[in-house]
């Protein structure tokens, strides 16, 4: 369902972003001309296979690309400022306060030598003028919100005294405590048990919806995204292949790659009776340093033609098949031979 509370002026507007890594083996175009908008309060899913440059988009927004990587071109507009041009000091005041990030592995994201109370309060100490007492109060409140029992005592515990799921809750608490406008979650549940994944995704969704924070959810798990996101951006080899409203993408994917991703999700109907063979996308993600000319997906695509192997498809937008209510919503694809929509 489209959420009517989402405003139309974007909070974050990424335009033509290119983040390249200059390695000895050649230039790795991890992010190669990516554009998307995130509205205030919107949840956007950034989907793609491993090695598709998803995380690098997150780190580019945070200004945490380390050499040999560099933002080569494009702009990252956030509340009227271009983050790609800001200095380290300005970025530092934005990180953690305006834009927060959740990492993939909660086992390594927390510093083993400090109590979690210390690590939660650090964010507040960096970005607010609160007194030590107030910081402590807020930390307890936040831990309570993310579902950690007995926060007053747990505050004094070290990361190794928590389970993986609990640690990720702590990481979420650290990210959300300064009430950021945008939260970037980089594969936040990949390292966790399947049983805990859904819990944490629900928690994250609840946290961002309650506080009106926008969320960029980076994941390879299209199934998870389809349940949470308002918008989905599908990446392949550092480029956007399809972008649009979540329900539209799931119901009517037009790029063969997206179709392939959706078909490889097991359905509930598979469990009882009618056994469907789970389909997979043939082949592997190509070496990003030696991409084939034309469409990067062509070697794996059942619909590929001569045109696909020679010419880059351009991302083009068209209006969704909507129900007529609300503003027109756009569905963009980069494909020479898109799947036809069955109305």
């Amino acid at each position: 369902m489209p959420r009517p509370d989402i405003a139309t002026t974007p909070l974050l507007s990424v335009k033509g972003l290119r983040t390249w890594f200059h390695t000895f083996g050649g230039i790795v175009k991890a992010v190669d001309g990516v554009s998307f908008d995130v509205a205030p309060g919107e949840i956007m899913g950034l989907v793609g296979e491993s090695g598709g440059g998803k995380s690098m988009i997150g780190f580019s927004i945070m200004g945490l690309i380390d050499p040999p990587g560099r933002i080569e071109a494009g702009s990252i507009e956030f509340e009227g400022r271009d983050l790609a041009t800001l200095g380290e000091d300005e970025m530092r005041s934005i990180r953690g306060k305006e834009i927060a990030m959740i990492f993939q592995d909660p086992m390594t994201a927390l510093n083993p030598l400090y109590t979690i109370g210390n690590q939660i309060e650090e964010t507040l100490a960096l970005h607010t003028m609160l007194s030590a007492r107030e910081r402590r109060m807020k930390a307890i409140e936040m831990l309570h919100k993310v579902g950690i029992p007995q926060p007053e005592q747990r505050l004094h515990h070290y990361p190794h005294q928590f389970s993986g799921g609990m640690r990720q809750r702590v990481v979420i608490a650290i990210a959300m405590i300064a009430q950021p406008r945008l939260l970037i979650a980089d594969e936040p549940t990949t390292a966790l048990d399947v049983t805990i994944q859904a819990q944490l995704l629900r928690l994250m969704r609840q946290q961002v919806v309650e506080s009106g924070t926008s969320l960029v959810l980076i994941t390879h798990d299209l199934a998870a995204v389809s349940q949470m996101a308002d918008t989905i951006v599908v990446l392949y080899c550092g480029r956007i292949v399809e972008r649009g409203p979540a329900e539209e993408i799931i119901a009517r994917p037009r790029h063969p790659y997206t179709r392939g991703l959706i078909d490889s999700i097991p359905h509930e109907s598979d469990v009882d009776g009618a056994k469907r063979r789970l389909s997979q996308i043939p082949g592997n993600v190509p070496d990003i340093r030696r991409l084939p000319p034309g469409c990067a997906f062509a070697p794996r695509c059942p619909r590929a033609s001569e045109l696909c192997r020679t010419q880059d498809p351009v991302l083009s937008e068209r209006e969704c098949v909507g129900d007529g209510s609300g503003p027109p919503r756009l569905h963009a694809i980069a494909c020479h031979h898109p799947l036809t929509v069955s109305p």
Partner: protein, 321 residues
Amino acid sequence: MFGYMIKRLIQMVVVLWAVSVLVFVMMSFTGDPTFMMVPLDATDEQIAQARRILGLDESHLVQYWRFLSNMVQGDFGRSFVFRQPALTLILERLPATLEIVFLAMALALLVAIPLGVYAGANPGKPTSRAVMAGSLVGISLPGFWLGMVLIFVVAVKLQWLPSSGRGPTTEWFGLRVSFTSWEGFRHLILPAITLSIGTLAILMRIIRAEMVEVMKQDYIKFARAKGATAKGILFKHGLKNALIPLVTVFGLMLGDLIAFATLTETIFAWPGIGKLLVDSIYRGDRPVIVVYLMFVALMFVVVNFIVDVAYALIDPRIKIK
């Protein structure tokens, strides 16, 4: 914690006993100190009498037993040369050694930590490479050579600092120390620098190597994502994680410097325990050497204990058991 202390205490006794055996064996089979004590033209009778006075006429077992039981009672024997209890001699000289060693260690840490952290956090930069090259030079410089060069340049040519001796001392909690007066402190500087260079270089390389590893960790990137300052990232999140191996080496080096400041003390005529050891070896002053070696063994055991406690203080995952 209590069980740990008991274990450590037993361990200490065993180590000290083993050292006492080694020391006794080494002493007993490396020459007869009697000849150092008697006049060149002494008669056999005089020699035999000297032996009896020194207690060397009995079997090794009896000698060892007497040596051990005296030691347990705190009697380490008297210096052949000074006619004073050997322990008193060592304790008298100890403050002088501790003074230059502590100053040298403070100097080493003060320089090694910032440089090591910088070089570890920016491994590719030319300045870091220069720092690392410099540390190689520091490791390769022999202490005695550096000491002599410092004496020649700073003391003789420039005449900025005194070249030898301890200078005026004052009483400080019953210890004779130099650092309380400016003139005394001036005497400390050159020996301390000489002592610190090698330690400084090694500490710096360890800090750098650890920092390079630590800076790759997720929690560093997460700290950056929180908006932590460069200083906070390097020192709060980085350095503390790099400290564990540093503490180990620091402890060993501290013990090493106290025990074997010998060369530096000799060059600067510094009246510490190192110089006393060298003099005693020359004079065959056996009781002093024995006390010295026992003292060194005890000190290493204590330093190791402190290092273990420091681990637990730094890293909450380490429990003292």
